[in-house]
Structures are given as structure tokens and as C-alpha cells.
Point group: C2
Amino acid sequence: MKQTQLFTKTLKEAPADEVAKNAQLLIRGGYIYKNMAGVYTFLPLGLKVIEKINSIIREEMNAVGGQEMYMPSLQDPELWKKSDRWDDDKVDVWFKSELKAGGDIGFAWTHEEVITDIMSKYVSSYKDLPFSAYHIQTKFRNEMRAKSGIMRTREFWMKDLYTFCATEEQHTEIYEAYAVAYKNVFDRIGIGDKTYRTFASGGAFTKFSHEFQTLAEAGEDVVYVNEAKGIAVNEEVLEEADLSELGVTKDELEKRKSIEVGNIFSLGTKFSEAIGLTYKNEAGEDVPVIMGSYGIGPARAMGTVVDLLSDDKGIIWPESVAPYQVHLVGLNLDDYEMKDFADGVYTSLKRRGAEVLYDDRIETRAGEKFADSDLLGMPYRVVVSKKTKEEGQFEVVTRKNGEVRFLSEEELYEDFAPEA
Amino acid sequence: MKQTQLFTKTLKEAPADEVAKNAQLLIRGGYIYKNMAGVYTFLPLGLKVIEKINSIIREEMNAVGGQEMYMPSLQDPELWKKSDRWDDDKVDVWFKSELKAGGDIGFAWTHEEVITDIMSKYVSSYKDLPFSAYHIQTKFRNEMRAKSGIMRTREFWMKDLYTFCATEEQHTEIYEAYAVAYKNVFDRIGIGDKTYRTFASGGAFTKFSHEFQTLAEAGEDVVYVNEAKGIAVNEEVLEEADLSELGVTKDELEKRKSIEVGNIFSLGTKFSEAIGLTYKNEAGEDVPVIMGSYGIGPARAMGTVVDLLSDDKGIIWPESVAPYQVHLVGLNLDDYEMKDFADGVYTSLKRRGAEVLYDDRIETRAGEKFADSDLLGMPYRVVVSKKTKEEGQFEVVTRKNGEVRFLSEEELYEDFAPEA
């Protein structure tokens, strides 16, 4: 992509009311636009990051056997009354409205009720179980206070997956498989080393549920972690009895700020009983299905990456989620031959399949180009200047550690776009 | 995908209240689920169709230079008051709610106001123009009556693209480029021969706007068409003066039912003036940007394909949007060796990159399998039976014309999964 064709521009300042580092950097880079408190637009560069995160999530969910679908936002109150989650006294984040045709309607903040209702149409026998299904879809939550930039917003994508099992053994097996898939997702997007599967209270069905908490100064959560033992618990699980079960004592744990980037939860038969999702077991009896739910917010994951992987100059994208791998920065482009040369390098990289953002701006000073490049944070910056052209050597800077290499044109193509 | 792993099943009957053919077939096939009137879930097979349609739309929009982004649903009333489209007396399809933090909020039914506001941050000079941007995003419309299955729903995806130009010449050029892109989309999804760029009234800025209308008995629109001349107009453009400008007379036109599958519209400076989107021209004067809008609903396109391309047995997907190219139907699978053989064919096809749905159900009769295969409508049905195994010949039936071929195993792989 040529920067002169991209409609966004970098901005010197983020809006004054935007205090979160993730949103400040993303707004300044032209990744996102703040429409109002807790409501953001994902601009072309930002959407590319989200799509890369979503691809990783999809690969990991599909690998366990998750089937992707797409459920609606509009919700029938009658369904939610069955599980007693329609009343504003029970759930305080509903957005509700009225149908012109008559009657109330809600905007989904989660989808347990919906998917349980759908599955009651398709599950009849124990032979239909186990299986899992998910969607990546917009959730609406009427938060009293939106905060932490793109971390806690009133409208956000959620990947929510649900499992359906006949037995506890089946449930435990699939639950653990998705726990591994979650770890893989966080590893792949570059925050795995700071992310802990954290023990939390489990509700009526199981002793523990699990949050995936990423240690971060900007976090609004708190966890108690022992890095050496690789164990973390949240506040709910600080009782000595719980801790001894986990093989750790209270004074071995350090209190740290963190961001909840995912959670997995055994639902038991709460929703299957309320909505009526049963299967016939081998004896021909109707038995409620055992369910689990598993959530990741792609935009919160993106914000966490930015909060963790950035410096005072800007963002440092890992290759796995960077909108482009290479930022080709052209200098001296007011020289016609130079422009021609730089355009040629861009075209060659692109034709060979490299993901390249090309700073082809003519009137912008080199210093401003380098500052923008650091702010935007592609993994590799390649400079094309008069000197490059004369000496046949491309300066390649690795964003995350500042390492500088010089490559010939051929080596450049080898490195960033090896032909298939 | 093995059918035994797919959580959906075919249904004998669609819900009694579902009268539209597209929804009846899609519900029976397990492509969609009706959550309530005008609100549907896209099940795994249905989402695959939508994704194929979206890919085609993206390719065609990107080819003209459209930049993909993602705008939110939640809307600030203040923005819409500027264009006088907040009041329920002006716009009767709003879903509105209230923020817990105080104040009204709307759910977007279109995005002109939002994108104009965003672009006012990025456009400053005539050098920034022309360009175009789009998103594929959920729209909410509080329709008094949802109807025609997935054609007119209360919640639906829309690909809405907007163009931004400095001059009328730029606008005309980009408008025509997107008109061609639209024609390409409808050609590629298999409804091009029945789809007419239809002249409609143009509003304040231009004489005509254009709808893309697909001739269909199930349509809720009406067009006047001359198939030989390849010209169509809607009711608004039936005046003799308009028709003579288009080179056709009233009695050369035939009245036909149709489905509006897309529309393109010159917005002029209506929104740029209301919201304040201006650029500096070469003389340094502030001038409002000339805009255009271009809409396609992917689910409506899907419904149109089903309405047009189906027979009394079921759906007939074109290859371009079929969830799978091949429906591999295994027979006699209660025989262990036979099951092994059929599984092997499935694995070989998949490994070579073919898109295969495999009916691996053991207890289902052949007749029911064939009926389901016709209902589901993949372009090619390949039968694997004892006879196939013995004779080494696979029966391949083309869904759209019933043509039967016999292929050897090698020819089968050649045809459906030529190795790269």
C-alpha cells in the first residue's frame, strides 16, 4: 500500500480525553478513530491487525473442531426471561429498544441463551455430542464508564465459543483442549510470555474457572502470580484451602496489575436446563447437555499488544499481527529517477507477495518519515535513498531492537518475499 | 467437512410462518436459523456462502481502490441532527436506546454521517482526493414488517462504500468504475444475466441514480425493462421526457417483478456541507467534498441466488458461492472396507485442496442422502458406493443440469483438486 493512497494520516496528538496508551498510539497512527466515549472505528490499518488476530483465533478454534457460525445481535426478551437474565436488576449492561411492530428487543451482550436455543433444534441423541461452535460478532454493553481505550468499550467484537457435551469426561477433555488453544493464540500474537492461565472461582458446576490474564501496568485487573511456578490466581481464589490445592502459598504470590484477555468457563447445565437443550442417552432418557463458554475480545487483544509492545516512539508490532511486514521508506523522492527506483523496489516486493507499506510521500522530510515509521511500528523498516541506489545496499532496521542490517536488492527480496 | 461432524442437520419442514422460498430452502438445508421475525443466524454452511460473496465483493471494491475499514453501530445523536436524520419523523427505521451514563444513542441503519465525520479529520487538500472507503458491517433497521426471508430483515450485513471527490469529473469517473464493479459482483455470484443497472431518480445532485435490479418472481420491487436493449428503469423514471433521454419508449418496456440487489447514488455535497467535510482547492478556498454511496447486502444477494437458482428439489449453488464444490456421498458405509475406501477418497480430495462436504452417515438410506444432496445444492455430487469401488468408476452428477459422468479415481482428483 502506498501511503499517499491511504486516506489516513498520522496525527501529532491524540484527543485530550484519551488517556489510555493503546488508544493514544492507535489514534495517532491512524489505526483507529474515536467516534465517542467507548466507541471506535477501525481504520484500514487497524482492521488489518484485527483480521490477523481473527485469523489466528479461527485457526486455533478450528483445530479443536470449532464450527464457525454467526448469531444476531437482536434478542427476543422471552428467551432471556427463561434464564432470568432479561431484567435490568439482574443484568446491568443491556441496551434495549422497542420494535416498531410492537414489543421490547435487546442487543446481545453475550450469546449463551441464543446458541442454547439454536442447538435444541439440532441435538437429539448422545451421538450428536460432543461438539463446539463459535462466532466472531459484535457485542453491545451499556457500560457506565468506558475506559482503557479499546479495552473496555460499549461495542466490541467478541469471539465466543460454546461447547456441548454428554458427559463430564467429554467436557473436561474439550475444556482442556480449548485452554491449550487459548495459550496458542496468546503465544502467536506475541503476549504469551506475560499471559497466565489464572484460576478464578468456578460457579455452581466446577470449583475453578479460568481467566487468561496478561501482566501489564495498564491493566485494570489484579492477579496474584508466582512467575517461577508459572501459577496465577485471582482475588476469588486467595483462600488458603484453594491455594494449597494448587500447590502454592499466599506469600509465594506477588500482586500484579493485569489485563483479562480471555476466559473459559464451565456452564454445567445452567442454560441447557433453562432453555431446554437435552439429548437422549443410551438408555433413552432425556438428559440436559453440559456446556462451556470461551471468550476472547480481538480488539482487547490488540490493545494489550500495543500496551505491552511499544516504546516512547510508538508501536512495535509482532510479525504475526503487523498490518504490513515491511515499511519501505523512500527518501529523496523529489528526484524523478530516485522515485522511479523506489517505486520499482516497492512493485517488486509486492509482486513477490511481500506485505509492504510504502512511504512514497514526496514533500515530507526524512525525519518526519522516520518518526512516522516508528509510530506505525511495522517489524522491519527498509530505507531507499539516493545512497541506497548508488551503493546497492538497503538499510534494514528491525523495529523491536533497533538492529541495523544492510542487504543487496536480491537479499532484500530473498528475505521479505521469497518467491513460491 | 464430514456431515457427521457438522452440528446442523437437514429438516423436513421449514417453520410454518416462513413463506419466502429462499428462507424455506436455507432453513431446511441448515444454512440459516430463524431466531425471530426478521432476525436470522447464519449457521456454518450459510456463513461459508456469505464469506464467498464477501470475498467477491472485496476483490471488486479493492480493484477500484476501495479501502476497507469498520465503523461502529452505536451512534451519537448530535452527529445525525446536523444532517436532520435523527428525528423519528424524518427516519422511521431507527432503533434507539439510552446510555446508562446518560443520553440517547442510536444503532446505525446507514453510515453517511459517520464516514463524513471521520473523513473531516483526514481530508484537507485537493491532493487528498479522490478516494473511496467501505466496510462490511451490520445494519439495524426497525422495519414495521420483516419479509421475503433473508431479503428484508431487521438486522443485516451491508457493504456500504463511499466516494470522496474534488470535482464532478472525478466523481463521474469513480461512479462509473464502481458501477462496473457492481456488475462484476453480480456476474460472479451467478445472477448477472438477470440483473439490470436500473435508472432511478437521482435526488438533488444528479438526474439519475442507479439500482441494480434482478428480475425475479419473488421480488418485491417492480421495474420496467427492455431485455433486447438491455435497459431498465424504475417507476420514478417513467416520464416520457426521461425515457426519451434514455432512448426507449414506454411501450417498449415490460413491467417485471424484481429484487433490488444493489444501489449506487450521487450524494453531491449534502453530507459534506451538513457535517463539515471540506478541502482546500488550488486557490486555497474551502470547498465541500463531492460524495457518492454504493450499497450491496450480502445476505440479500445470497437470498436472490437461492430464489433464482433452485428447483423443486432444492438449491443449485453456482461454483463461485457454493460452501463446498463437491458433495461426496458415501453409500454402503456399514461395510467396514467400504467406509475405509470412502474415507480415503475424502481425505485425498481434501489433502489436495478440494472443497468437499462428505456424507459419511452410516445409518442413512441412499434415497435420503440423495434428497439431502439435492436440497443442499453443491455444484457436483460424487457417489462412492460398493459399485464404485469394484468398477473404479465414480458417478459425478452436475447439480444444475443433471449431467452424469463417470470418472476414474485419478480423473476425479484431476477434476476437483488439481495439485498445485
